[in-house]
């Protein structure tokens, strides 16, 4: 270190479920480097100042989706947010709209349950003989660049849950299935290999799913991967409505 270190005042939410009734704020003054991300500051506190601080992180390159936190009240991936964007002091809290496990770590079990409801995997109507033949000949299902392009954007989600923290509907109705889960379900509905759209559309027409969205667009504003979950949710609304209308006039296969 050649230059004199700049100092930063960091306010961090602390919560120990064994001792605390409610989360409290702890303040640290630490030296920072000009090229640090917010995560580097938290790691510095953990390594050099206070080893009792708990936070989640892994890849440091905006891929793993584990270091999402509220930075000055906004949901951010801390590994992708430069400290240089903030001057003097910064406030770091656990992601909003989730129960706190400890300090900056939140409980994402509720999200995982919502996630499973949209069946985020390729569903086939049934394994057909020709599927097996195609598999044997080509090795896999072929897909054109256009077919891939139809859903690729919505498949880039890293489940960082910033969108759930930003969503005003999640804040109001915690049972709302939420942006990332709907975007992922919609991603499989758009996949040319998938045949499960009907099942997912039935889920989407249930309580607390796509129609609970009031299109505030906050999810897309905070998404670090430009997935645009708000677009996915609103396309999913139309898809669910068209599927419903089709069900009125066309007999359901195998129903």
């Amino acid at each position: 270190m050649t230059e004199a270190a700049e100092m930063m005042h960091v306010e961090v939410t602390r919560f120990d479920p064994d001792q605390d009734e409610v989360p409290k704020v702890q303040e640290y003054d630490i030296p920072i480097q000009s090229d640090w991300k917010v995560l580097d500051a938290i790691n510095y506190i953990k390594d050099e100042v206070d080893s009792s601080l708990s936070h989640r992180w892994s890849c440091r390159m905006a891929v793993c989706g584990s270091c999402g936190m509220m930075v000055n009240g906004e949901p951010k991936l801390t590994c992708k947010t430069s400290l240089a964007d903030y001057s003097g002091s910064i406030k770091i809290e656990p992601l909003a709209n989730f129960p706190i496990v400890r300090d900056l770590v939140v409980d994402i079990d509720g999200f995982m349950d919502k996630f499973r409801q949209v069946k985020p995997w390729i569903l086939r109507a049934k394994e057909r003989a020709e599927d097996m033949e195609a598999l044997n000949e080509k090795g896999t299902f072929s897909q054109s660049p256009a077919e891939l392009g139809a859903f690729k954007q919505f498949s880039m989600c890293i489940n960082c849950l910033l969108c759930y923290s930003a969503c005003p509907v999640v804040a109001n109705e915690p049972e709302f299935i939420g942006p990332a889960a709907i975007a992922l379900g919609h991603r499989y509905n758009l996949d040319s290999r998938d045949e499960g759209a009907r099942e997912r559309n039935e889920t989407f027409r249930g309580e607390g799913t796509v129609f609970s969205c009031s299109f505030a667009n906050e999810c897309s504003q905070v998404c670090p991967k430009n997935v645009d979950p708000a677009a996915a949710v609103n396309q999913a609304k139309l898809g669910a409505v068209i599927d419903w209308a089709k069900g009125l006039v066309l007999p359901r296969e195998g129903a």
């Binding site: 005003p168 109001n172 109705e173 027409r205 249930g206 309580e207 129609f211 009031s214 609304k237 139309l238 669910a240 409505v241 419903w244 209308a245």
Partner: protein
Amino acid sequence: MKHLLLILEPVIWLLFGAGLALGTMLLTGFVLVVGLAIPMGIVPPEALNYERAYGLASSFIGRVILLALIALPLWKGAHHVRSLALDFGGAERDGAVGSLLYLAAAGVSVLGIIAVVGL
């Protein structure tokens, strides 16, 4: 109540979406013509004299457009106000508030149908 609204949600959302799109475009066009183009003399005032306006409004297409202009923005408004009420008032009253708003929109829509048919 809430359950009925959930079943009707696709219909309500379609009316809301149509109201959002059509209302925004048609009303903008209406304001442009009546509020700006005619007063500024871009369109001659005779373009909307009584006979012409009545002829347009009482044609089949005219009646459909009039009904869309009357009814669809009401559904859009009802849906928006329901969302607003949900944000402020919470989920318990959502069924009652939603039903009331949609009933109002449906009631005025029926009046709109009667008016347009009797034109």
